[in-house]
Amino acid sequence: MPASRRFGRSRFTLILLVLASLTVLTLDYRDTGPVQGVRRVFGTVFSPFEGIGNAIATPFENAWKGIFEDDDLEDENRDLQRQIDALKGLEVAAQADREDLAELQRLENLPIAADIEHLLAKVTSGPLTDFDSTFEINRGSGDGIKREMVVMTEAGLVGRVESVEGGTARIRVITDPDYPGFGVKLVEARDVGIAHAAGQDGMVQIDEGIQPDTAKRGDAVVTSGLDRSAYPPNIPVGEVESVRPTGDLTEQVVVIDPYADLDGLSYVAVLLCTDDCS
């Protein structure tokens, strides 16, 4: 086939593919049934693979962090060596079980009102790309989980349910730039405002409805739990890290360092209320 004709055909194919992509994007944007249905089936089929991948990758990821992300590497290496000498394989496994149990027991003592029902869930996989910061848990609609339910650990607020399948759900964390704003309160100043992801360094910022000069470093921040809120009051969110100007220097925002370790979650609790949890 002549090169010019082949070039014309390939351009035609590309245009068709672009149009097909845009059609799928439009259908997805409009939340149509077939697209979501196909997505649910695919997600269910691949869910076990995601769990396997997470289990395999965790030791490698820990090793990477140990080598490149720790300032006191030599000290930690010595500590690790002592631990390795002291523990045998069986003891390590038993300790891991005990830690899981302790974490689950801690989750039974959540800092929320006793009448709010909650469900414990295991984190089965993390995000699949860097443009998608949700993680998956092993509980779904069959367990009573619905979209927008609040997720937390004993340390504090983690995020909320983004999507639900039969036996799994995906959680969006509070540091995700696409996470919707939520009401918070400065404990000492008694001032309330709206918090959003800060978009960097895994932080959250209060950028609406607050007097920034009432905040000072180290102040505790909790959910405000105003009427009809999906967030119960007084869930620990984090502590004030700094008060800094916005990019255009016209306003100030209060930057919060979340209490919950959002990168190293093993178990979480899902609060089983959606509309009025306050």
Partner: protein
Amino acid sequence: MVTARLAAVILVTLVVQVVAVSPLSIAGARGNVILLVAIAAALETDAERGAIAGFAAGLAFDMLLDTPMGLSALTGALTGYVVGTAKDSVLRDAGIIQLGLVAVASAFGTLLYAGLAVVFGVTVDPGRLPAIVAVIAVVNVVFSKPMRWALRWAYGPESRARDRGPSVFRS
């Protein structure tokens, strides 16, 4: 037959992505071997087949993501087409150049995805992009050989880079 073999390659790549590549965060970034399907298919065949393979692999990956569905498919199709066109126009078969093209194409595809993501309402932190681009480029260079073998098997010997036309670097 080619379609079935290509589907098998995409399925295996999807499993590799989910089991081995996505869970492993290096310097806060993850690889994306799905994009490599488009790049390697374009290098093994031509722009048209690269675009089709990229579209199919991207669409399959989109079904597992929470980002808008069709975004990876669009990125894959455009990346495959651009790589196929660039290869046909200017490049030799030298191994090092091919690896360089994989790295550059991976960077291009990732930035394209980020740009399209912003257009379709996904918030992207530009500060993290350099690390993401670097990790995806390195991971794809590492996986490029096995991916090209797999796609060579999928397409069969007859479709390997036929008439490439004139080239500014070719004598």
